[in-house]
């Protein structure tokens, strides 16, 4: 694991403009999840949702390196993955609210979002299903554009048998896959350590897939690890694996108060909040606090407008008339 000092130093962020954009995107994801939570409480969200709050550095760090030709398979905790790729937040919100203007016409809800024009081939409700989808996508990409397929998945997925079949298949065929394990410490309600033997990273290494464990709360650490992994993959050397250590701030789904977590654990992780960490680093490297405040206000205002527009948007007029093509 690359050790990151919490003391901000100068010269860590290679491109302040880029990281300021990432800061904005992380704020958008956090605010979006707060908004979804608030609307869920009012009964406006159709179906369950799994919020990404706390894990923002992973999706934004990886997405900042992706190209037009790449493809992404997200998990059911996928709002952050979608927003990091540039999916229109209004259309994503409308999807949660079951509106015709949703990114999938209000039919997919939270767990099944896809946005092909934004490189998101799907959000997968089956634990580890994203790995299989990315494997298939990589098979196609290898023969066509040469892009990389990214699979996000959680620590729980690493105990699914077919994950190893996919990993083996990818390595044997040298498929262009970046595997990003978001280890947030819990598979649903079960602590990671009570169901998982050994290190996650070593499960990839046993197939000679290069793997790295990284501080998932530090977006520049995630980006650094993803950059090394993508260089390997884009070089035609087959898959690479990144394990990001992170934490989800809320329960598994909206039915879960997360009461099984030890007292103080959440607060401890929040002291290393990815947004706070990045902001501290940006300020240490000379970005004006007032500018960052402005971004925060703009994002808040944007989300407030989204809430109003989303609630005013029409529902699908006829539920079964839409044809799905391609």
């Amino acid at each position: 694991m690359s050790h990151v000092s919490d003391k901000s130093q100068s010269g860590v962020l290679e491109d302040l403009g880029l990281y300021t954009d990432i800061y904005r995107r992380m704020l958008l994801i956090r605010g979006f999840e707060d908004l979804v939570q608030s609307l869920f409480l009012k009964g406006e969200v159709y179906g369950t949702t799994h919020l990404y709050s706390g894990q923002e550095a992973v999706a934004t760090g990886v997405a900042s390196l992706l190209e037009e030709r790449d493809r992404v398979a997200a998990t059911y905790r996928g709002h952050g993955h979608a927003l990091a790729l540039g999916v229109d937040p209004q259309r994503l919100l409308d999807e949660m609210l079951g509106r015709e203007s949703g990114i999938n016409g209000g039919r997919a809800g939270s767990m099944n979002v896809n946005a092909l024009d934004q490189r998101l081939i799907g959000s997968f409700g089956i634990v580890g299903g994203s790995i299989a989808a990315a494997t298939g996508a990589a098979l196609g990409l290898q023969r066509t554009t040469g892009g990389v397929a990214v699979a996000y998945f959680g620590d729980g997925a690493m105990n699914q048998g077919y994950v190893f079949e996919c990993l083996n298949f990818c390595q044997v065929l040298k498929l262009p896959v970046l595997l990003v394990c978001e280890n947030n410490g819990y598979g649903e309600y079960t602590p990671f350590r009570s169901v998982t033997a050994g290190e996650i990273r070593s499960r990839a290494e046993v197939m000679e897939v290069p793997a790295e464990t990284v501080d998932g709360m530090s977006v520049w650490s995630v980006r650094g690890a993803a950059e090394r992994a993508l260089a390997h993959v884009r070089g035609g050397n087959g898959p690479a694996f990144v394990e990001a250590l992170t934490y989800r701030y809320v329960g598994h789904s909206r039915s879960d108060p997360g009461a099984y977590r030890p007292e103080g654990e959440l607060d401890e992780w929040k002291t290393r909040d990815p947004i706070v960490l990045l902001r501290g680093q940006l300020e240490a490297e000379g970005v004006e606090a007032a500018h960052l405040d402005e971004i925060q206000h703009e994002t808040g205002d944007e989300l407030e407008r989204m809430r109003e527009r989303g609630l005013a948007a029409p529902f699908p007029s006829e539920l079964h008339s839409r044809e799905f093509k391609d």
Partner: protein, 388 residues
């Protein structure tokens, strides 16, 4: 107008939930993220945290009460620093019974053409189904012309007015009475019971002459005399222990039998029916059962029952004997498997009727239950002496 705090949706599948505990009191200010109330959903007990800072004005649904998603559970003071004398008198927090939420809105008509699928809130849709009104043609007053619950209620009220409803004219003026939250809960559970449980009933006459003699003797001694119903509760609990299939629930094609025998005792109050629970009734002596049922009945009438007093019954005894009813059948309180309806004394005979879930028990089981219950009531020394 005061803002309202409504019942939040705290699980994927909840339709309504119970208030376990208020963490703030009327007059308290709170910060964003501070826990306001503990809510028991269908999945877990969850603390609902404030989405914004504010001041609690009054509690509309006290501890032990329940409300559907979107129904008001409290009012908020809008940042005004009024003294407590300026506020409406807060409802007693110790009261265990929910009160009807006040209807507070006035109608603001808005032009809106009916859509293909009416734009309405989920709560409004549910209300429309419950009230039997069509969403089509209702002008929504919410954002973007969205139909709110209030709009539906107004529409339902308008439909109920004699002038607009020829059907009502023949029945004279119509007074619409809102159900309290408890009454609405009872209504929903009774429909669930009647539509999902295939039932049969068996009856038997029990000779109470020995119990009557015991009670008469005790009364002459001037001691607290257990009621006939206390004997019935005890005998039912003993029978449940011996016939555990009655102490169970039908759950998704399986029968869950419970280790504890908790007998609910139906208590009529002014506006509802409550069923507080005598826990472990099979292991308690008669005087303890008598004391506990008296406490629970008093608490039910004074509305001071706690949520824990109303949960986890595995069987119910309902007694209308004091009203001179000879016999009746009761509706099962799901997910219980049976309910015992107790009639009044005719001479020395009392008729008991057991209504059973036929998915779990059959006619001969019902007969066995009642015959054992009768044995215990007709041999009170076996019942009282062997109770522990």
């Amino acid at each position: 107008m005061a803002q309202q705090l409504t019942m939040p949706k705290l699980s994927d599948s909840m339709a309504e939930a119970a208030i376990v505990r208020w963490l703030v009191s009327p007059g308290d200010t709170f910060e964003r993220g501070q826990g306001l109330v503990e809510v028991e959903t269908d999945k877990a007990t969850v603390v609902y945290e404030a989405e914004a800072a504010g001041t609690l004005d009054s509690i509309l649904v006290p501890e032990g009460g329940s409300a559907a998603i979107g129904e008001p559970i409290a009012t908020l003071a809008n940042g005004s620093e009024n003294g407590s004398e300026a506020r409406p008198t807060p409802k007693a927090a110790a009261s265990a019974q929910p009160r009807p939420a006040p209807a507070v809105t006035e109608r603001r008509p808005v032009d809106g053409a009916p859509r293909e699928r009416p734009n309405a809130t989920p709560v409004a849709r549910r209300s429309a189904v419950e009230l039997g009104v069509s969403l089509h043609g209702i002008a929504g007053t919410g954002p973007g012309g969205r139909i709110t619950r209030e709009d539906v209620e107004h529409a339902a009220a308008a439909a109920g007015e004699p002038v607009s409803s020829p059907a009502a004219a023949g029945k004279g003026a119509v007074e619409t009475i809102e159900l309290t939250t408890t009454q609405a809960t009872i209504a929903r559970r009774m429909v669930e019971s009647a539509t999902t449980i295939p039932v049969f009933s068996v009856s038997a006459d029990v000779d109470l002459s020995l119990i009557a003699a015991l009670r008469a003797g005790a009364r002459e001694e001037g001691v607290d005399v257990p009621s006939i119903n206390d004997f019935v509760v005890m005998a039912a609990a003993r029978t449940l222990r011996e016939l555990p299939r009655f102490n169970s629930s039908y759950v998704e094609g399986k029968v869950e039998c419970y280790a504890r025998v908790n007998v609910g005792v139906a208590v009529a109050t002014d506006d509802a029916l409550l069923v507080p629970v005598v826990f472990d009734a099979d292991r308690r002596p008669l005087d303890e059962i008598a004391a506990e049922t008296r406490r629970l009945a008093d608490a039910a009438r004074s509305r001071s029952l706690q949520p824990a007093d109303l949960r986890d019954a595995t069987f119910t005894v309902s007694n209308l004997g004091m009203f001179g009813i000879s016999s009746f059948t009761a509706i099962i309180d799901p997910p219980q498997v049976a309910i015992l309806a107790v009639g009044g004394l005719r001479g020395e005979l009392m008729t008991v009727t057991l209504t059973c879930d036929h998915r779990v028990v059959y006619g001969t089981d019902g007969a066995r239950f009642l015959s054992r219950l009768r044995e215990l009531l007709e041999r009170p020394l076996v019942l009282i002496g062997g109770g522990r």
